[in-house]
Amino acid sequence: MTRTHCPYCALQCAMDVSPGGLISAESLCQKGWTAGEVLRAPDRLTTPLVDGRPATWDDALGQVVSRIQRVRAACGPDCVAVFGGGGLTNEKAYLLGKFARVALRTSRIDYNGRFCMSSAAAALRRAFGLDRGLPFPAADIAAARTVLLVGANPAETMPPFMRHLRGPKRLIVVDPRRTATAKLAGTHLQITPGTDLALALGLLHLAIADGLVDTGYVASRTSGFEQAAAASNDYWPERVERITGVAVHRLREVVRALARRPAIVLSARGAEQHAKGADTVTAFINLALALGLPGRPGCGFGTLTGQGNGQGGREHGQKADQLPGYRDIRDPAARAHVAAVWGVRPEDLPGPGPSAYELLRSLGTAGGPRAMLVFGSNPAVSAPDASVVRERLRALDFLMVCDVVPSETAALADVVLPVTQWAEEDGTMTTLEGEVVRRRRAVDPPPGVRSDLDVMCELARRLDAPGEFTPDPRRVYAELQRASAGGPVDYSGIDYDTGGVWGGTRMFQDRFATADGRALFVPVRFRPAEEDVCADFPVYLTTGRVAQQYQSGAQTRRVRELNRAAPGPFVELHPDLAAQLPVADGEVVRVTSRRGTVTAPARITATIRRDTVFMPFHWPGANLVTNPALDPMSRMPELKVCAVRVEAVGENRSDRQRHGRRPAGG
């Protein structure tokens, strides 16, 4: 038995894995218990594929290099793009950023975490000077008197986290659906999709009106309160009620509960995956600051990081504008430090590149990348407006995908390289609490597969990259430590084997990570969803997860037990909406937005708003409909709300999952 951690979410539950892939652990969710089956996936990739045919590693890597060189010769290094993932280990995330900047000399690298944590990250850095999802231990949550969960459904997205929510005297959940989490809450605010920002402004307005502001804390630990307060003046409760659909008396109840410390405010993707996600998180941070929560024992503001290495993955340089240690790629001092570690000249490092969706949208266009290398991501399913993304992936001269199984993105690739997965490899992951944990090799990988690190190093060698590239995770980590040393996020003091929490488990007790040590209120204003409902598209679509699937489903859709429990996509809708269509439970409905159409069986439940339908995004389909409008600050797409039309298709179930038809003029 070898101690390692679950391959899925940011909780990174500890588990012991036998050489045969059997799992034992204290507590896991169903995904965790069945993770061993992913190791034995029947369609596991074990041979490199070139144009869909098996090839030797030497041939495949040779292909990759020659295609990269051809593209580079034709249109320069920026014509090669790199796309990473929030599930990659710290070492892979770090080496991928280095590989892109040093071996490929491209600025065009970003990753799927842009679709996850970017809004929260932007807001946290703006307010606190630092982006740590949970700047306090999750165990503090259980001791809080009040917990406000905004757009989070941990009962299904990270079930073991629910142990922390059993404790609070008062749990308040903000969600358009009465989710499994909301059902456990004393107060559920069933908010109109896309209006969380107005809710936060209204709560701040009420906190000020009711004299609940912690003036001593505001004076000693923050700056900018007056401006943020003035920006909330326009959001009196009755107006907020009309925007959000949340009754005034509920607003009062919530703000009073939050003013009773210890209280904690937590946001997640439901509030963040919007074209105003960064401002929404900022508004909730403003509320938490006004009530004196961040940095106070037992209190605080946090965001629930989703992906397995969502925290570490956003710290070490696979982001378009970032170098290791959460350094800013525009900062000359940061460039000099990292260039020295990498053995290159600072002026040889490229500048910032476009964000994930902008990158994907530009593939194969004039001036856009002609080739792309994908590691640990499945953007053909997970990106918004996915039919455009698929079209762009197809328009590339060359696409390479490293993956464990033949994902939908791998199916479009010219070269597919089979790589190791969680229990077959070593490395570190950083949990949602900021704890660096050790992933250990418990199982021998199938013959023929190599690690992502091997692939990067071998490609770097063949491309005559300057500096040193090593595939040994321990040595990569040591280099990461040097590269991050002195940066906003500094891993130099955290041991590879014993781990630890960078910057301490309870941050901001004495000062925030801003220049003056004070948290910053930022005035924000509400703006409506990019697409509001109208006569042609009268219903909101929101997307999310189910308990038995993960991300784009590349892993979990290959586990029998999980597929039995959650066999396919569905459209969740209210009985009143169903009656209007009309459609019965299980019948197929068609969901159409300005971008595309998807069909799936109806799942009728009174737990969702009448004006909203929900689709899980684990299967190809939901993202054909979602809106790629971007947050101006975080570049987060508006995955959580768009306007759709819902129609009954009739009994023809073979119609299911017919995708990608674009309405005329759409």
Binding site: Q30, P159, K183, A209, A230
Partner: protein, 457 residues
């Protein structure tokens, strides 16, 4: 483009602050010598539930403000606005946002009353309220009731005198007005309806039916009329308000009117919602966006603590009506439905239904067949949480591991008698552990009753 806005109230300030106009040269005249403030929240200030600082509506930098300067004329021929200080300000676009003024009915002693309209009025009332024990509010409309509630919260005995047969007669039907009066009585506010005030004296108010009410303070809240004198003098078309078309244009295409002074399709509005919608449409129009104003949906929301009232649309309209009345609990709910759309609604008393109803009305979405689910959202099926014993066999007990009640019963039948044993057998409770108590109670219910579990689906 030079835009001159006359009026710094809710409409004028909103327009001047619209980000679309940031490249225009905007001048705002205001009769009141202060920064724009949010009139809607004045009743909160009166009640002590809103901070004074929350009234301010900051204008963006670059807006030329002339506060405390009265405009005396619009010289349309010269396209200039003439002010009392002798200045003439040239415009390409002139916007009238002069608002409305309180109606002060002719009666002896009316000069002893204070209207409730401006921040000045509010401060005067607060100044006087400190020394009095009794007050009368003349007029039982929205503002009058908000003022009454505000004064009552300061410990003053308040009487509301209302000429019409029931309170808020435009927003409520008679039954609703009665329930409101009853609720107000519970909050220490006496209501007289169907009677006029004969005279106001320094220490009392005399009613037409001979009643005399002690009152050291009298507030007049008898409605408002649009301020149209400038428009009239300038020769613009004026009826009840300044007549505007769907672009908010007056009879002079260089002069626009928005807010409470404007009359659009025969309607003048007295709520902030329409004022802001008009300001947004005008800002869009002035910057070349093809938006038109087609009228507003009105939602009246009483803003007073422990007094929940929402009135939507036309509550007197013909159509299918659904009502629920429970006067002793202060509850009155009414829906008026026409063509399967909500034409009007009254919600009196605390209810979560208010958000849903407002949005159904705003969007004119189809009303569900089960009307009661709208009036009583708490009874919606999704909220019913049966005890473990009553759960269906397919009900998921352990979310983390997707274990159904039937699966647990199967394990129990096979000999798993404790939660720990069930966990070992089924993995239920091995995630967050939240369901372990439920499993315990399920096991109890299996023991108690050996009746088979209902197999749903």
């Amino acid at each position: 483009m030079r835009i001159v806005v006359i009026g710094n109230g809710m409409a004028g300030a909103r327009l001047a602050g619209d980000p679309r106009l940031r490249h225009a040269h905007v001048t705002v005249f205001g009769a009141e010598p202060r920064l724009p403030y949010n009139r809607v929240l004045l009743s909160g200030v009166l009640a002590g539930t809103t901070q004074m600082s929350q009234l301010t509506m900051p204008l963006p930098e670059g807006v030329d403000t002339r506060f405390g300067v009265k405009v005396t004329a619009i010289d349309r021929a010269a396209r200039q606005v003439v002010a009392e200080d002798g200045s003439r300000t040239a415009y390409d676009v002139c916007v009238l946002a002069t608002g409305s003024e309180p109606i002060m009915p002719a009666m002896p002693g009316i000069e002893l009353t204070i209207p409730f309209r401006t921040l000045d009025d509010c401060e005067r009332i607060l100044g006087r309220a400190r020394g009095v024990r009794d007050a009368v509010v003349i007029g039982g409309g929205l503002l009058g009731i908000e003022a009454a509630r505000g004064l009552a919260m300061r410990g003053i005995r308040v009487t509301v005198v209302h000429l019409a047969g029931h309170l808020m007669e435009r927003q409520l039907d008679p039954a609703g007005g009665e329930v409101l009066a009853r609720t107000l009585a519970g909050l220490g506010i006496t209501v007289h309806v169907g009677v006029s005030v004969a005279a106001v004296e320094p220490t009392r108010v005399l009613l037409a039916d001979g009643t005399a009410i002690e009152a050291g303070l009298a507030i007049a809240s008898c409605g408002v009329r649009p301020v149209t004198s400038l428009a009239r003098a300038a020769g613009l078309a004026v009826e009840r308000g300044v007549v505007v078309d769907d672009l908010l244009r007056t009879s002079d295409p260089a002069v626009y009117a928005i807010g409470e002074c404007a009359q659009h399709r025969g309607v003048t509005y007295g709520l902030v919602g329409p004022c802001w919608e008009q300001a947004a449409v005008l800002a869009a129009h002035l910057t070349g966006e093809p938006l038109r104003y087609s009228g507003s949906r009105t939602v009246t929301r009483l803003k007073a603590p422990n007094l929940e009232l929402a009135s939507l649309g036309d509550v007197h309209a013909d159509g299918e009506t659904v009502t629920f009345s429970h006067p002793s609990a202060g509850i009155y709910r009414k829906l008026v439905i026409r063509d399967r759309r909500l034409a009007g609604a009254i919600l009196l008393g605390r209810s979560d239904a208010v958000g849903t109803l407002t949005q159904l009305y705003d969007r004119q979405s189809e009303v569900p067949a089960a009307r009661e689910s709208l009036l009583f959202p708490e009874l919606a099926a999704g909220d019913v949480a049966p005890g473990p014993a009553a759960l269906a066999g397919t009900a998921t007990i352990c979310q983390c591991n997707a274990v159904s009640k039937t699966r647990i019963r199967t394990a129990w039948l096979a000999g798993a008698g404790t939660a720990a044993a069930v966990s070992r057998e089924t993995r239920a409770g091995t995630g967050c552990g939240t369901c372990l108590p439920v499993i315990e109670s399920l096991l109890g219910s299996f023991e108690d009753s050996l009746a088979p579990v209902a197999e749903a689906g």
